[in-house]
Symmetry: C2
Subunit: 682 residues, 2 copies
């Protein structure tokens, strides 16, 4: 193992450090390694028993870690970025997770200055600990359908929070099950019998001393999950619980206690901003999420040897590294290319977000508060920029998290039998990541938002309006050429690849528009087309972002020419592989010919695999995952795969402390059970 990875690293001259710095900046890398040095020393963060413990024990450890992390944060005065680096290294959802994200953000963004003083400040100090309770047993995507009510009582200026049915029970709420003593509760605001839709309320749910649930509040953990078992996702039912007027987060809307009237002051759409920001973060992280799996699988497949090459000459003894098989390469190296594509796209997405945030500070685009719904055409208009940002974040969130989730399973499977062991480190990571495809907008449903935006843009282009952004630009280009057609030299010129993807988006958009506006097809009948359209458009955005990164001056400034060449190859591999996978849409739109696809498939992609193969290990090294973070036998930097597997199985495994009585007629199951000793080892 060790020797093989050494050889791999010797085969390529790719400057790993330079590349890492290009990806993460020198400051980012230093930050990570500084924090790692601190975490590594803390016994509570040792990962060795993670894969063995049962749920209650894991939760206990996770709580201990969350506390320690908070203590270290205070002790070292860590910034938000430092803290995020630490959680990435720990790589485990923890009981403070939702307190530290949605609870704090909501208090900050939706509270008035007085409310921030009363709630946000103590929350920042962990004097109160909260969660964000929106989803219910019966409603998730459809936020407007929430059943929990907050009824305004004019007589004593309070709200009554109530769960009228079982399905109104809050459900899935992170940090709620055991940990939180407060919740931001989304509930239907009812004034004088009239509902004004869901609004956020701050509700204390547990006693600050005893930590027992308050009267008329029923709380619990919702039970085991496919992953995320270190987090106490919880349920919450209210039986007519009164809270003061002050507890409705009132920055955007409020109830006037004098007139009992509902007030909705105009203001910049920061709510909207939060959701876009959360989605952008998912896009930003997807490359790294996938890169963990790719790192592990690539290293392991360079260490793993199986069979002799059947065409190898007699004298070439020894088994072949499985990474040499093209059927392994087509799975792993294409995903390796995808990690880079997603990383650059994530960066682009974040920049777009920030540019827009700045512009928005001046803007006064008023939007509604319940944007999680699927309701595509009915939503707010907002400014043009905002709409573009919104659609981009929806489409890319959907595509990027799908690629990452499915890619991780591909990596796991590429490791053969050993991929199935928890020691691979891929399975547990995959299981924890999976909900990302469902939350913050289900990946299938988000595609409706993208389609809606593209349809709207297409309508404006059809009306002859001037292009105002890239989307309307590519639609106009297509329209202008619709009588001439186009020919893209996708195998010869990189910019033609981008253009071919743009062409396909535009083609599918106008097809969908025809179905909807001319043929008057029902929205529901078009959902499958919309999904394809959203996917196509998002793939275009990824390809474009990758290409633009390659064209940026910083690239040639920071990377030597050979590395730049390798980056171009990754770009081509990602784009052409996507193109051949989606071949039929590319034909149908006449963006490319059948012959081009055939050549891409049998020739260009295969050649790129061969050219990239020698750099594979260095390309994953550049992602710079410390072993401590990966916690994987298969993905060890030093390649000591088998030794580590064996050590973990034989030395750390509680099941080996039991002796069974194997005979069916004997009622004795365990003759001996010393497995508890492993718990105390921690």
């Amino acid at each position: 193992g060790h020797e093989l990875l050494k050889q791999e690293r010797a085969k390529s001259k790719l400057p790993v450090e330079q590349l890492s710095q290009f990806l993460f900046t020198r400051g980012g890398l230093e930050r990570k390694h500084g924090i790692l040095a601190i975490l590594e020393k803390e016994k509570v963060f040792y990962k060795s028993q993670n894969y063995f413990a049962g749920r209650v024990d894991r939760f206990e450890t996770a709580l201990a870690r969350a506390k320690r992390l908070r203590q270290l944060t205070v002790q070292h005065g860590w910034s938000v970025e430092d803290f995020r680096a630490a959680t990435e290294l720990i790589s485990e959802p923890g009981p403070y997770g939702l307190h530290e994200s949605m609870f704090l953000i909501t208090l900050r963004d939706q509270g008035t200055p007085q409310q921030r003083e009363k709630f946000y400040k103590p929350a920042l100090n962990y004097e109160i600990i909260g969660c964000y309770a929106q989803t219910e047993l019966g409603h998730g995507s459809n936020v407007r359908g929430l059943e929990t009510t907050a009824t305004w009582n004019a007589e004593d200026q309070t709200f009554t929070i109530h769960s009228p049915h079982l399905t109104a029970s809050k459900w899935w709420i992170g940090s709620l099950g055991r940990t939180a003593n407060h919740a931001v509760v989304m509930a239907q605001l009812v004034i004088a019998g009239r509902s004004h839709g869901p609004h956020p309320f701050v509700v204390q749910i547990r006693d600050l001393k005893t930590h027992e649930p308050l009267e008329n509040i029923h709380i619990g953990d919702i039970g085991p999950k496919f992953g995320y078992n270190t987090m106490d996702n919880g349920f919450l039912l209210f039986n007519n619980v009164k809270i003061p007027h002050f507890n409705m987060l009132a920055r955007f809307s409020s109830v006037d206690p004098q007139t009992n009237r509902y007030m909705r002051p105009s203001s910049p759409s920061l709510v909207y901003g939060t959701l876009t920001w959360v989605r952008s973060t998912i896009v930003m992280q997807a490359g790294g999420v996938l890169a963990r799996g790719v790192t592990i699988a690539t290293r392991y497949c360079a260490v793993r040897r199986q069979f002799q090459d059947r065409d190898a000459p007699e004298w070439e003894k020894g088994e072949n590294q499985v990474l040499n098989y093209t059927m392994v390469q087509i799975r792993l190296l294409t995903l390796l290319a995808a990690t880079y594509a997603l990383h650059f796209t994530g960066k682009g997405m974040m920049q777009l977000y920030e540019t827009n945030q700045n512009k928005m500070s001046q803007d006064v685009g008023q939007v509604g508060s319940a944007q999680r719904g699927a309701g595509p055409e009915e939503t707010h208009s907002g400014s043009d920029l905002l709409a573009d940002l919104h659609a981009t974040s929806c489409g890319l969130k959907s595509l990027a998290s799908t690629i990452a989730a499915e890619g991780l399973e591909t990596c796991r499977r590429a490791c053969g039998g050993h991929g199935y062991s928890s020691f691979s480190g891929i399975g547990p990571w995959f299981a924890d990541y999976l909900p990302t495809t469902t939350w913050e907008g289900d990946n299938y449903m988000l595609s409706q938002q993208v389609a809606r935006y593209l349809l709207k843009s297409a309508r404006s282009v059809m009306k002859g309006e001037k292009p105002t952004n890239d989307t309307t630009q590519i639609l106009s280009n297509f329209l202008a050429k619709s009588d001439i057609g186009a020919a893209f030299d996708v195998l010869g010129r990189d910019e033609d690849i981008v253009a071919a993807f743009a062409w396909r988006t535009a083609f599918l958009t106008f097809e969908a528009l025809k179905h909807r506006d001319e043929q008057k097809k029902a929205w529901n009948d078009l959902l499958v087309d919309f999904y394809r359209l959203s996917r196509a458009h998002s793939q275009y955005l990824v390809v474009k972002n990758f290409y633009e990164t390659l064209q940026s001056p910083s690239l040639t400034a920071e990377l030597d020419p050979e590395t730049v060449t390798v980056m171009y190859k990754l770009f081509r591999l990602h784009s052409l592989h996507t193109l051949e996978n989606e071949a039929s849409e590319f034909y149908t739109s006449s963006a490319v010919t059948v012959r081009q696809i055939q050549l891409a498939r049998t020739s260009a992609v295969m050649r790129l695999l061969e050219e990239l193969r020698p750099h594979a290990v260095r390309l994953v090294d550049a992602w710079d995952f410390p072993d401590w973070q990966l916690d994987s036998s298969l993905g060890r930097y030093d390649g000591k795969v088998y030794e580590d597997m064996f050590y973990r199985a034989s030395e750390q495994n509680p099941l080996n402390a039991i002796t069974v009585d194997p005979y069916p007629d004997s009622p004795v199951l365990f003759k001996k059970n010393d497995s508890a000793q492993f718990k105390s080892k921690l």
Copy 2:
């Protein structure tokens, strides 16, 4: 929930019972329900704590279940089929798993009569309990590369079993970790310094009384896995352990103790048969495996309501069942069609297997013993029939288990957030099923066997040999028409669908042949093409099997005309959806036109979804899964989804018996921990 499923069942007149009987026969259904009645009464089989317990506890319960199951088998005199029905109902890998399958089968098939007397008989009675130890830390797919040695000692007529390196450790061996006291060990037979390849040896590994490992034998459980945690997959190392001559399983090859010569008597290839049989079983089961997920998701999506239909008239109040959204249908109903397709294919596969077994009893096709290798072209030839059976079982095993595994995850995701809960019942089932894509021939590698066979068949057709089976037939057909081309009316005539799939297989086969034989491309350069070819061919086999079932007289005899019509629709949905997913190969081979694909996509498939929608719940009901088997809140027959979720979360969840101290500065984690009480509840 309850009302909605009632309405669903009222909407369709599909005779569920009749259809179930067609699928499973009346006898099969009666068997299942008889056994269910027995299992249900046994407390040890209660599933309620399955999702909560940690590994050691789960293993303990699994052992108790395995014992009880064996006792019941004896008590009721259950047949092999009864036993299999019981394990399907229990749906949990157990500690006797490999004893009851590969250990017994190997002793039976590879032992001499004397060896059967000595080992097989007591094993049948669980006096000895065994496992099948082939895979090692360093070698799985490449069986010839195994490192464990069995060295013949002429002086005392014994073998020395030895593990020369760490990577020679047996690994992944089911039932070995804690349970077995014997193992069939595959080891390199070495006589006088010369290796004769891997052979099976029976080795006692633990004391029959104390159950402690014997001297010089190191055993343990390999640790936690993505699933399969109720099974003790183990490792095993030998330090020069001597076993008698008698313990080499000698039906096919042996060492003559007088001459010290290696003997390989000619005999029918039963070893080969075992592997084919195991693969055929996987094909047989894939439909049912997937159907569990489809049943759960379909019922839940009929109960789950979210959003109003955006084009629904004002007066139509209430939220839409998510099963009405076409984007849900395209995921679930196509998988529903796949369950039927796979079921009929599995039946066909089993018939093919049995026909061949009968023919083979007369045959004397001698083949090697280590057929698990990927080594495609080098392997034995065997008879024509055998080769076809082998390729079919490889291709279908690969395709069917991939469809089932990936389909289960699609089902889980279709359930939105609740799909992520263990109570969905899909996640745990998916996790346990996943290794099926890797074992008994990794799904990617099996494709090489299929390609090799197709290439061979194509060569014989090119030489002008007469077609001897369906494979050579479709290749000849294609060749005969290669100057004329073909036109298949895939949207108009069902038999043309089958023909188009055959055409595509043939096209890809001759393309691959050109690459290999004319262009002399390296085998490794063609692996990706081979994978595509194998997939295409296997899809053809599924479509053909489905179609043949529809054409069989038993269908019209057993099903009423309306049900037959629904079956045809399922056939079209499965085939046309596959066709549009693989569109580019269908174009490239000129089997269909671009326009046909477009029509399939936008019109035919969408219409089929609409037509099948009303029958969805009854079509899954016909799979006849008892609630007890599914163990799923979401998939309950009565639709009481939310009540069950809530009950499990609030009443059965050990995490709710702890109270935490939530403040970061407090060293106390759990103020109270009563979670142990849940263990005793069992």
